[in-house]
């Protein structure tokens, strides 16, 4: 059995750990509120963008000559997977969930006899993937310096993706991120961004637009922007999810630390009492023998 001193030390160390997790929870809660706010504020842009593209792609007369970002290369041999994770740990299952989703996707692709490449955004994803798929990772981007998700960063990722698409390095691009549902639930998502997949949402507006310049040129200008916008949206969702996930993880940790302190305190008191009783018995029996 541990000595009284050891127990005392353990209680103290668990207590200080609890203080840290509690502080982290508070910080995550504050950041979560901000992240959620900016995710909500960013929504109109991506929605409007989506709308305009829907209208445009309906207006395109010559489907065969549609821009390749919209219609794809006509093949699906090489997939590009943009796996978006956080740069920091201690956020529960946040990163592992994305990685799990991505790994599932990878094995499906391999089973179908196709090839894939990986771009990781965020260092945690890179850490987890490089062991198993190190040779597939073609780019690792991390935005440790920027405090909040901003469009400038998203645009950088978007430009890389488009450049690789234009040089014919892949046929289909999918991004992986966590969608923020609430603090407890984040749903890992795989969203295809190239070619644009909007079959399920047919636009039923009868409105016909005038285009200036023509549809193809506008689409050519718009589609690359849409890629960045989608990535930005994913980044916003991701940062809200990360904070939410961290908050609940730290909440759990704080509670567990509390339980541990209680248990240790009981054990400490018990062994202290045992020591006192033992000493008393020794004294009494000593006095009796006189």
């Amino acid at each position: 059995m541990a000595s009284l001193d050891d127990l005392k030390k353990r209680i103290a160390s668990v207590k200080s750990t609890q203080k840290i997790t509690k502080a982290m929870k508070m910080v995550a809660a504050a950041k979560l509120r901000r992240a959620q706010e900016s995710a909500e504020k960013g929504r109109p842009y991506s929605e409007k963008m989506n709308n305009v593209i829907l209208n445009l792609s309906n207006g395109i007369s010559d489907k065969a000559n549609a821009p390749r970002l919209l219609s794809g290369t006509g093949q699906d041999k090489v997939h590009l997977c943009v796996v978006m994770t956080s740069d920091r740990g201690l956020c529960g299952g946040f990163n592992s969930n994305i990685i799990k989703k991505a790994k599932n996707y990878f094995s499906n692709i391999l089973n179908e006899g196709k090839d894939f490449k990986i771009i990781t955004v965020g260092s945690k994803g890179n850490d987890q993937l490089k062991r198993a798929y190190g040779n597939k990772i073609i780019e690792n981007i991390s935005f440790k310096e920027s405090k909040n998700a901003n469009y400038f960063d998203a645009d950088k990722v978007g430009k890389i993706v488009i450049k690789k698409f234009e040089s014919g390095e892949f046929d289909i691009c999918t991004i992986f991120y966590n969608q923020f549902k609430n603090v407890i639930t984040q749903i890992p998502q795989a969203q295809q961004i190239i070619p644009l997949n909007n079959d399920e949402e047919k636009n039923n507006s009868e409105e016909s637009y005038e285009f200036e310049p023509d549809e193809d040129e506008i689409l050519g200008n718009l589609l690359p922007k849409n890629i960045s916008t989608q990535i930005f949206k994913a980044m916003l969702e991701n940062s809200a999810s990360e904070q939410g996930s961290r908050m609940s993880a730290m909440d759990n940790a704080t509670r567990n630390a509390g339980e541990m302190v209680d248990k240790l305190t009981i054990e400490y008191n018990r062994s202290r009492q045992a020591a006192i009783t033992k000493e008393l018995i020794e004294i009494i029996s000593g006095a009796e023998s006189l």
């Binding site: 109109p44 842009y45 305009v52 409105e207 637009y209 310049p213 718009l222």
Partner: protein
């Protein structure tokens, strides 16, 4: 009949500006400046660097944009842009910075004609503001 319509400018981070009492908007569309009044036919176009002029009952406003998309439909004008500044808020040094950046960009040789055209436009607009 009132002559007012609604304008909404959004950038990726937030909804930048919403106004309900706009009389006329002049946007720097790709093929030249375009004035939009109420009951304009539905149109989609994209922007080159320039000045958006908003004439409304509650006063006129000017914004500098670098790129974007305009959509007009049912007397709703939406402008999507990733870089927009109110001309009243922007100061000279910021303009200088933008100009320097644009000039550096235009000296690159590996850009295509359209990008070159857009950058030249940008430089021109920025110079006129200074």
């Amino acid at each position: 009949m009132s002559e007012e319509f609604k304008i909404e400018i959004v950038n990726p981070e937030k909804s930048f500006l919403v106004k309900e009492d706009v009389l006329e908007v002049v946007v720097p569309a790709f093929e030249g400046e375009m004035g939009i009044l109420k009951n304009h036919i539905p149109i989609i176009s994209f922007l080159k660097p320039g000045i958006i002029k908003i004439l409304s009952k509650s006063g006129n406003e000017n914004y500098y944009v670098e790129d974007g998309i305009v959509e007009f439909k049912n007397d709703n004008l939406s402008i999507l842009t990733s870089s927009i500044f109110n001309l009243n808020d922007i100061d000279k040094s910021k303009l200088q910075d933008l100009l320097k950046l644009a000039e550096k960009e235009s000296n690159k040789t590996d850009i295509n004609d359209q990008a070159k055209y857009l950058i030249d436009q940008k430089i021109e607009v920025l110079k006129s503001l200074n």
